[in-house]
Structures are given as structure tokens and as C-alpha cells.
């Protein structure tokens, strides 16, 4: 079938987006997929990761990654336990289950950006980390716009903040 965006080239990439139980699928060619830029499907997806991921899936067997049991190293609770009880076992569970929680949290809470209070002791560390993330996003944009001088400046700023992070 033809790409749904340009209508000229063959579509060899299928995107399926599931939000609140609604499924949207579109078919694009490589060129249009690249053009679309960063795909914000709830998790930051780099085009390169996506392509390599695709390659991986087509070459490996059909064992889905979800079949490996996720167990928290701290409290020993499994993801299956969580699915049964709806409760997490400890703080570490949030890290271990990571991306798997995102769809559920999106359904429960909607907006997944934390905007609330930060504990006093962690305040400067969190502020620094958010600043670094902001600069990284700006760096991505600068690269896409081919503003390489700007990108270099940002990269240096990021490096200096990151070294602060290691010290602090």
C-alpha cells in the first residue's frame, strides 16, 4: 500500500497508537516517517531506536518481551502480583516496572507530568535535573533545524551542568 502522507512511496512502516483503548493505525514510507520527526506516543521514541527496534523484531522469534516476568529486586513483588492487587510493593517497583505502568497511569491520572511539591532535601538536585532535560530538548530541536552553532553551545551548557550533577 502507499504512504498515507505523501501518497507516492510504498508504506513500509506501520504506527499503531493506543490511547484510552482507542487504536489508531497509520502507514508511512521511510521518508515521511523521518519527516514526522520525534514521535510523541507517550514515551520518548528516537527514530533510530524505532528503526533498529523494527529490525530486531522482524529477525527475532515471536516471543513477546512481556512474557519475561518482571520482579522487583527490593520487595520481590512481580508485575503479575501488581496486576492482581492494583498495589505496588515499594518505591523500587516504580523503577522496575517503568514503561509498563505508563498506559495505566495515563488512564488513571491523565497528565503524567509531575507539577507538585518537591521535598526540601531533593529540591536543588531535581531543579538541576529538570534544567538539564530542558536543555536536551532544546538541543534536539536545534539539531533538527540544523542550527549547529546553537546546538554546540547547548551541548557545552549540558556538559557543565551534568558535571555539577555528578559532584552534587
Amino acid at each position: 500500500m502507499l504512504c498515507q502522507k505523501c501518497g507516492k512511496r510504498v508504506a513500509n512502516i506501520q504506527f499503531t497508537q493506543i490511547i484510552n483503548n482507542n487504536k489508531h493505525t497509520i502507514y508511512l514510507c521511510e521518508g515521511c516517517a523521518k519527516e514526522e520527526g520525534k514521535f510523541n506516543f507517550g514515551s520518548p521514541l528516537n527514530i533510530n531506536d524505532f528503526f533498529s527496534g523494527l529490525m530486531g523484531i522482524s529477525q527475532k522469534s515471536t516471543v513477546s518481551p512481556q512474557q519475561t516476568e518482571l520482579i522487583c529486586s527490593e520487595c520481590k513483588m512481580s508485575y503479575q502480583d501488581f496486576q492482581k492487587t492494583g498495589k505496588l510493593g515499594c518505591s523500587n517497583c516504580y523503577t522496575v516496572y517503568g514503561e509498563k505502568l505508563t498506559p495505566l497511569l495515563a488512564r488513571l491520572q491523565g497528565n503524567l507530568q509531575y507539577h507538585g511539591k518537591i521535598p526540601g532535601k531533593l529540591y536543588s538536585a531535581v531543579k538541576l535535573s529538570r534544567e538539564i532535560q530542558k536543555l536536551k530538548d532544546m538541543l534536539d530541536k536545534a539539531i533538527k533545524k540544523e542550527e549547529y552553532e546553537e546546538a554546540a553551545k547547548l551541548r557545552d551548557q549540558i556538559r557543565s551542568l551534568e558535571s555539577q550533577e555528578v559532584k552534587g
Binding site: C75, L88, G89, S91, L104, Y114
Partner: protein
């Protein structure tokens, strides 16, 4: 009588009480349902240490109550006063609650999360309750490391509390909205706005005595002040509607209106046997009459006291022994009569 029952707060003709609750966990200990007994003891010790060494910092006098040492009736008294949740009362783990002397502050330990900090004020005082909760949170934070990550905020046992861990709620008395059926519109709008509406005892309870508890459902994605602000705004709108409808109802048929509230007063002043369900209904009518200045001989604080004491555990604590349901209905009627007359 302590706590919000003994005071008359702002907008007390519609708003019974305002409550802010924060859920917090300690960083390096599993959540209560996965933790071992020693962990439970550790949590208790750390929290007690944090509060009692610093209680002078916020000028409150605190008392620690060990859940394991209370009998079922004593636990139920605390539930009825809204100082602990039914879950804590049923807890099998090491658990307890720290209460301030005026019962405005209640810190539950090892309920679903390690900590549930609650501030309860009379009438519409959501901002004041939030300020106090925030202060206590800051105080605890000085000596306790909370489970927190940058992405999700404060980490909680149940994802429904994730992020700010805040539950802002108001208890509202809405007889006119209920009588006219307009309460349905309120419930629908609340649903659409992500506001939960529950009965007198919170989760899993039904609406009794025209009492409704509204609270936020979402805890992530908004700042605490926004969440509190939303509840305040919705409450504000509901207050206006309720007051307007009360006046309307009375205007439509003043004799019927006054007859209803006075008949209920009559029953309260004279009945010899009365169930909880019936007394809650009568209380609602009489409260309406007092709010609107139709009934003049009864003080609102008396009604608050009655509302507290007609509940089964509190009732039994007045006579110091367990009572059968039939005995309770008689003692309840005695109590009500003594206060009304």
C-alpha cells in the same frame, strides 16, 4: 468535645468540614502490605521520633495511639470521629495514629501507605487545612527521607495517589439539592470534572442524612494548590446552588417546609426508640431549620454533638459498655432528648 464538631467554621450552613490528606512513604522500606514486622516497628519509631522531638516547632500537643492496644469499640470511635480510616482500624500490622490535642491533625502510620497526614477543619477552610498539612510534611521531611522520584513525584502504594499524594475533600450538607432532585446534576458535573462524590464515611459508603463528601480523583499532573483550588471552586458553586434552592423551597410552600422541620424536631425531642438511619434523617431536617432561622431554640453545636454521638461506638462509650442494637436505639433516643430539651 474536640475537633471540628465543636466549632462553627465558615459557610457552616452547607459545609460541615474541610479535609486535606497527604500520602507519604519512607524511601527504603517496602509499603505496608509488603513489609515485615520489624519494618513496621521501624516506621513507627522514625515517625514518632520526627514528631515528638519537634512538636514544639508547630506548637501542637500530640498523643500517639497504638492500634494494637485498642479494643474494637475504641477503634470505631476514632473512625466515627473521622480521625482514622476503617482500613487502619482493621489493620493487622504494627500501626498507630498520632493525634494533635485539638484533633485537627491526625497522622496515620502504616495504613495503605506508611504515612497519611490529615488536617480536618470545621466549615470551609481548605486553604488553612492545606497550609497546616504542608507545614507538617515539611517538618517530617527534615528527619525522614520520603519515597520520591522526579518523574512521578511522591511514590505511593496505590497509583491512584501517585504524585502529590493529596486528597482534598469537603463534607457538604445538601438537603435542598437532594429534595429537588438537582443533586443528580451536581453528581454528573462532578463526574465529568474528575471529582468523586461519596457518602458520610468516604469510600464505599452511601449518602445518608443528605451528607456528601466531594474530593479530587487526580493526584498527578497538577500542583497541590491547583487541586485544592478546584475543590474550593466546585464547593463554592454547590454552596450557592444549595442556598438558592433552600430559599426557593421555602418560598414555594412555607407552611409545608416549616411543618417538615418542626415535625422532625418534635420526634427528636420525644422519641423513646430511634435508629441511626432515622436520627440522621431527622438531624438533616432540623439542621436545615436552624440554618434558615426557622428553628430558633436549638444551637448548631448541639446538632454537631448529636451527629457525633448517635454513632454506635461513640454511643456505647457514653455508657461504658457494649450494647445490643435494640439497647443502642433506646440510649440514642435518650441522648438526643437530653440535648434537644
Amino acid at each position: 468535645m474536640k475537633g471540628w464538631y465543636s466549632e462553627t467554621g465558615p459557610e457552616s450552613d452547607v459545609v460541615m468540614s474541610s479535609r486535606i490528606r497527604l500520602a507519604r512513604n519512607l524511601r527504603d522500606i517496602p509499603f505496608p502490605f509488603r513489609m515485615k514486622k520489624e519494618d513496621g516497628v521501624k516506621v513507627l519509631e522514625r515517625v514518632k521520633g520526627a514528631i515528638f522531638q519537634r512538636s514544639s516547632a508547630i506548637g501542637e500537643i500530640y498523643d500517639f495511639i497504638d492500634m494494637q492496644k485498642l479494643n474494637p469499640i475504641e477503634k470505631q470511635v476514632l473512625v466515627e470521629k473521622h480521625l482514622i480510616s476503617p482500613d487502619l482500624a482493621e489493620s493487622q500490622y504494627e500501626s498507630g495514629v498520632i493525634l494533635s490535642d485539638d484533633e485537627k491533625i491526625s497522622i496515620m502510620i502504616n495504613e495503605e501507605d506508611h504515612l497519611r497526614i490529615q488536617c480536618l477543619y470545621a466549615g470551609m477552610q481548605l486553604n488553612e487545612a492545606w497550609d497546616l498539612c504542608n507545614e507538617i510534611d515539611n517538618l517530617l521531611e527534615e528527619t525522614i527521607d520520603f519515597a520520591f522520584n522526579e518523574k512521578y513525584g511522591y511514590l505511593t502504594c496505590c497509583p491512584t495517589n501517585l504524585g502529590t499524594g493529596i486528597r482534598a475533600s469537603a463534607m457538604l450538607h445538601l438537603p435542598a439539592l437532594t429534595m429537588t432532585g438537582y443533586i443528580r446534576g451536581v453528581l454528573e458535573s462532578c463526574g465529568k470534572l474528575g471529582i468523586a462524590v461519596r457518602g458520610l464515611y468516604g469510600e464505599n459508603s452511601e449518602a445518608m442524612g443528605n451528607m456528601f463528601q466531594i474530593s479530587n480523583q487526580v493526584t498527578l499532573g497538577q500542583a497541590e494548590e491547583e487541586i485544592v483550588g478546584n475543590i474550593r471552586n466546585i464547593t463554592r458553586q454547590i454552596i450557592d446552588q444549595e442556598r438558592m434552592l433552600r430559599i426557593e423551597l421555602h418560598k414555594q410552600n412555607p407552611f409545608r417546609f416549616e411543618d417538615k422541620v418542626y415535625r422532625s424536631l418534635g420526634l427528636m425531642a420525644n422519641a423513646r426508640i430511634i435508629s441511626f438511619e432515622e436520627s440522621i434523617k431527622l438531624l438533616s431536617d432540623v439542621r436545615l431549620g436552624v440554618d434558615m432561622g426557622i428553628i430558633t431554640g436549638v444551637d448548631i453545636n448541639i446538632l454537631n454533638e448529636i451527629m457525633l454521638m448517635i454513632q454506635s461506638a461513640n454511643l456505647q462509650s457514653t455508657v461504658g459498655r457494649a450494647l445490643s442494637p435494640d439497647e443502642r436505639d433506646i440510649i440514642r433516643a435518650d441522648f438526643i432528648r437530653s440535648r434537644i430539651n
